[in-house]
Amino acid sequence: MGKIKKDREGIHCDRRTFLKGAALGLAGTALPLNKADASFWEVFFQKHFREMNEAEIKKVLERLEKEYEQKYKKAIKVGNEKELPGVLFGYGLDLSRCIGCRRCVYACVDENNQSRDPQIHWITVLRFKKGEKWVDLEESEKYYNPELVPEADYFYMPVQCQQCENPPCVRVCPTQATWKEPDGIVVVDYNWCIGCRYCMAACPYGARHFNWAEPNLKPEEINLQTHYLGNRPRSKGVVEKCTFCIQRTRNGRYPACVEACPVGARKFGNLLDPNSEIRYAIEHKRVFRLKEDLNTYPKFYYFFAYGV
């Protein structure tokens, strides 16, 4: 009896939702009519992440966990760890070591719950022929597919979000749905992004990716430890990007790509700590940053630890 009554309420609410939706003009197709979804309006009217107080954020996180449980039948934890005081994250990539194996690419996909179909990769590894024009990226090959890496005549350069100190993507976003956190990580509020893709046009590093379709993620593939601003499952129609594995790094762990690299080409640490590995690399190696002429001030440093 109780169940029937509940269902009825569901239907009633549905109809009302539908009428309201119709009033908004874009009704019908927009509304999840099959699931009696009372939380539709809660989702619709969710405030900007940075305008919510602690209690409101807590409610949203709980709602998201419930949504994900319904969708994936898994208990996914959506965290909201704050930045650590006195931390500004920086990344180093030793080009003399990189062998182009793309283990970082797939470790990132596993860690950050990217869509498997269509595939979304936050890291792009570019291959260059030795002895040819390089830094303009024009001669790079993204879809190389040899039997074995590294190949004798080539070298490799992985590119991902450079976490710019002066990020052009943040400036252009019309809704402030993306911003730079105090620890230097550029994040996206997936529930606020309208999917206009202006940030993708503005990013000089091809680091932003759009969910052209509803992301496909098998429940058994999901990483259950997530962060609201990081690797929680996304929906179609929003932009996503590398967050230096915010869900890991704010808990004192390395990003997944750093751990996955078999040759130790990837370094990570606190730029404000003079004893950190990243500071050592910057101070002792020949470092450069990608497209420095654009004054984006990346916190992603490429360097050559030894000559080849």
Binding site: L26, T29, V172, P174, A201, G206
Partner: protein, 410 residues
């Protein structure tokens, strides 16, 4: 109050008055609108994967059309300037139809933006106060302000004039004069802001050139008036509205000047890119010669260039300008030329090659084309219905009931 309701129905009734060809036209447009809506519903449900856009080329046909139509809307100013400021009578009488075209074009612009959005239900996030408008940092926020402002200004001017005429009175310049003055810089601003939207992006060398905004304006002042010239001839033929040939030839002359500037600016750009030959010339090389064997835009760009140059000469010489066959040929060439130049020719090279050097050759998906045709049909229908009301008011055939007049009759 009673009068208002009655008048509303008088206006509404106009929509249903028409001959066979009118109904066929409306049915024809409705067919494409319905097709467009069904394609859009599919896109809405499945996501923008139904389009050919991908991460490498993240804007396509929709944003190209948006850009072209901002130009059409802005060009209404070309009519307003001589009409009101210099009191050039023949044009002044037809400014109204230009303003209605601006209203239509802006409405289509907004539709193109909405269909391009990944999360259209969240459109309110871009509004100030209730949303989180990123003003003044984001040029897209600026665009929202200027486009909606321009829409409001033109709606007020057009409907005020129509209202005064419909109750049989002259409109007062004291009321709309300031608005008309305001609309001139405002029209320039909608196009400038839209140009800056691309222009400000340092990641895309093709857009990041100061010539972009001036070229935007110059080409808009070609395509917008060209569309109007064709519409004026249709209106003149299909109704009792009299449009002086002098107005048409004057506008054609103005198009010739605008096209001269447009071609000059294009030449300046071509020189800079190819003479210096830095890596920033790749997008333009891709447009006109192809890059790494990818040449899908090459025939289009040469066709557009050829169209624009031919049209320029047709409009330059009074003999061809004042002959309706060559005039209309010129109009069609300009509309096609600028549509290609502003669409594929402007949006695509921003993304090809992409920021990591990849060349993804975009060509719109069928679903995108159908949605686009749907919006064009919706725009044509809106303009038709606006004319259905505006033309009889303008010719004096349609008059509203007022207290005085109702009094006269009893």
């Amino acid at each position: 109050m009673g009068h208002m309701i009655k008048n509303f129905f008088i206006a509404l009734r106009q929509i249903f008055i028409g001959d066979r060809s009118y109904y066929l036209w409306v049915a024809f447009l409705s067919f494409f609108i319905l097709l467009g809506i069904s394609a859009y519903i599919d896109q809405f449900n499945r996501g923008l994967i139904t389009t050919a856009m991908r991460d490498q080329v993240s804007w396509g046909l929709y944003i190209s059309n948006f850009t072209f139509l901002v130009g059409v809307a802005a060009a209404a100013v070309l009519l307003v300037v001589p009409a009101y400021l210099y009191n050039f009578k023949p044009i002044k009488e037809i400014v109204l139809f230009g303003e209605l075209l601006a209203i239509t074009a802006i409405t289509m612009c907004l539709l193109f933006i909405i269909v391009d959005m990944g999360q259209p239900l969240r459109a309110w996030h871009i509004l100030p106060v209730i949303g989180a408008m990123n003003f003044p940092a984001s040029l897209l926020a600026w665009d929202v302000v200027v486009l909606n402002g321009y829409l409001v200004i033109n709606v007020i001017i057009a409907f005020y004039v129509l209202y005064r005429l419909s109750i049989g009175k002259e409109y007062s310049m004291a009321v709309i004069g300031p608005l008309i003055i305001l609309s001139i810089p405002w029209a320039v601003s909608i196009h400038t802001v839209t140009a800056f939207l691309y222009n400000g992006i340092s990641a895309r060398p093709y857009w990041n050139a100061s010539i972009l905004a001036p070229r935007f304006l110059a080409s808009a002042f070609c395509s917008g008036p060209a569309i109007m010239l064709i519409l004026f001839q249709i209106i003149r033929k299909r109704s009792e509205v009299e449009i002086d040939n002098r107005a048409i030839f004057k506008i054609a002359e103005l198009i010739a000047y605008a096209m001269a500037i447009n071609l000059f600016l294009l030449g300046a750009e071509v020189f800079k890119e190819f003479y210096s030959g830095s890596i920033h010339s790749y997008p333009m090389t891709y447009l006109y010669f192809g890059l790494h064997g990818k040449t899908s835009l090459v025939p289009w760009m040469w066709a557009a260039t050829l169209f624009n140059i031919t049209a320029f000469f047709l409009f330059l010489f009074p003999k061809t300008r004042e002959n309706f066959t060559t005039l209309n040929l010129g109009c069609v060439l300009i509309i096609m030329g600028v549509y290609i130049e502003k669409g594929m020719g402007l949006v695509m090279p921003g993304f090809v090659p992409d920021t990591l050097g990849e060349i993804y050759e975009y060509s719109p998906a069928m679903s995108e084309i159908i949605v686009t045709m749907g919006i064009w049909a919706a725009g044509a229908l809106l303009y038709t219905l606006l004319l259905k009301f505006a033309v009889p008011v303008y010719t004096g055939k349609l008059r509203f009931e007022t207290k005085e007049r109702a009094g006269h009759r009893t």
